[in-house]
Amino acid sequence: MTQARFIEEKIFRGLMLAAAGMVAGSLGLILATVFVKGFRALSFDMLFKTPQGGYYIGGGGGIANAIAGSLVLGLGATLLALLVSLPLVFYLNVYLRRRSRLAFFIRFSLDVLWGIPSIVYGAFGFTVMVTLGLKASLLAGTLTVGLLIIPIMARSMDEVFKMVPPELHEAAYALGSTRWEAAMKVILRQAFPGLAAAVLIAFGRGIGDAASVLFTASFTDALPTSLFRPVATLPLAIFFQLGTPFPEVQERGYAAALVLTLIVLAVSVLARALTRRVTRHSR
């Protein structure tokens, strides 16, 4: 009997280790692949120049258009999603009763929206644009990606709010706080690191999505200058470059992937550092 239990323990320990190894391993492998294949193509020109003539058949220039475009579009979409998500989760967790029908319906909708593939968002955005007579543009892309990441951001924030102990709400109210004061001065502070993480997850998802911007933001070799012009994005830059038959262009595709990965990495490191400063008061 004890022997069987010992083996059981061993098997589970093995399984857990394997799972942990798989996660760490795939992260390492992805980073390594992108790095090894793309590092050589990474250059000053690559980062700071727009594509020159014949770029996609091996001509000079870089992907500054896509880097700038992705950053602008990603930040815009994140900001937009934040403007919707934050009030929404406050409404859900501070004002609505937890078991209210409306709260249930909102959460259900968010979960369904989360599951919808991004190409569908792209198609939806495109349809709306056509109906309104808009062209593919930074604005349309930002709106579409914003829509795409609202459920991700809102639902992650929602989970964070649920982790705030109910006693903390009570403590704030017991001091005579209004709901607004409790929410803004106490709950927000407690939830801040989690909220920042939610924003990041959403940003990472938004900046890396190709399908939703394919029709809505289109692509261009120019730097983003206007909300109403098409804008280049990194995922599409990767897609177009990897799709060429030229090895040196494909290599640049990997370099673009490396840049995208580094952006997401940098933002999360930065945000962690920031949240540590803001939240040194919670445990």
């Binding site: 009763r97 903390l168 009570e170 403590a171 109210y173 001091l175 005579g176 706080s177 919670s282 445990r283």
Partner: protein, 261 residues
């Protein structure tokens, strides 16, 4: 023993989603005395306490009947000013719940939301209330440190200071020493004995020894029912109801794991 009534509970019943938590409780809490609400876990003590500042409103599916008068004002009436009511009542929880801020800001929070913004006066008041809670000497050099870094006993005294800072008339304690070590618990008890000169104190406790030590007045709640209440000395010495008698002599099965004295 005849004191002015500070809180008067009239025929109070409370349900949680159809499940009765309190049945027809009628009770007067005397002014500037310590009233202990005793009884086994889950019998409605906390519900009774938290209806005094209408904090039970936050619970899911709660329904209230009856009236509670605080200073002769019906706080159960629709449109009662809850933030003002809660300002009147400081509440200490079982586990201290510090705000995610510095030690200083924990005390200053209540002052600020009730309109004190002058830095100098904030500083003076924070010191004053930290002294009142017996914490000043331990934290004077690290007021900017996160409150969560304090020991749990210190946190509870910080919560006391924070509650006192909004200048309440009543202090409610929901088993405020149950998470603390004996020494910290004793310090809180001492504070209560000093504070009853100026405040009405209502203490939920299942530590009978504590109730005996502190209470002027005691109420025994059992299964949502107020079984007996009266001057503490009398209730402990000559309980009228057999259930009270059983409980204070430690014969209730429900009180396992507690300290029946």
């Amino acid at each position: 023993m005849e004191a002015r009534t500070h809180i008067r509970v009239e025929d109070l019943s409370v349900w949680y989603g159809g499940h009765p938590a309190l049945k027809d409780v009628t009770l007067s809490i005397p002014d500037k005395k310590i009233t202990a609400i005793i009884g086994p876990s889950g019998c409605g003590k906390t519900t009774l306490l938290k209806s005094f500042n209408r904090l039970i409103d936050l619970q899911e599916g709660v329904r209230m009947e009856g009236r509670i008068l605080v200073d002769d004002e019906d706080i159960t009436a629709p449109g009662a000013d809850l933030t003002r009511l809660r300002k009147k009542m400081g509440l200490l929880f079982q586990r201290p719940q510090v705000l995610p801020m510095s030690i200083f800001e924990n005390v200053a929070y209540g002052l600020r939301i009730h309109g004190e913004n002058d830095r100098l006066r904030l500083g003076e008041k924070v010191e004053h209330y930290l002294r009142m809670a017996g914490l000043w000497a331990e934290v004077r050099d690290r007021l900017a440190a996160p409150a969560a870094k304090l020991s749990i006993g210190q946190q509870q005294r910080l919560c006391l200071a924070r509650g006192l800072a909004v200048e309440p008339e009543v202090i409610l304690g929901d088993e405020p020493t149950s998470a603390l070590d004996p020494h910290s618990a004793e310090r809180i008890e001492q504070r209560f004995l000093e504070l009853k000169r100026d405040y009405t104190i209502v203490l939920v406790t299942h530590i009978l020894r504590q109730a005996r030590r502190l209470a002027d007045y005691a109420a025994f709640v059992y299964m949502g029912e107020l079984v007996e209440h009266g001057p503490a000395a009398e209730l402990f010495a000559h309980p009228k109801d057999p259930r009270t008698e059983a409980y204070i002599s430690g014969r209730f099965i429900e009180s396992t794991g507690e300290d029946p004295d």
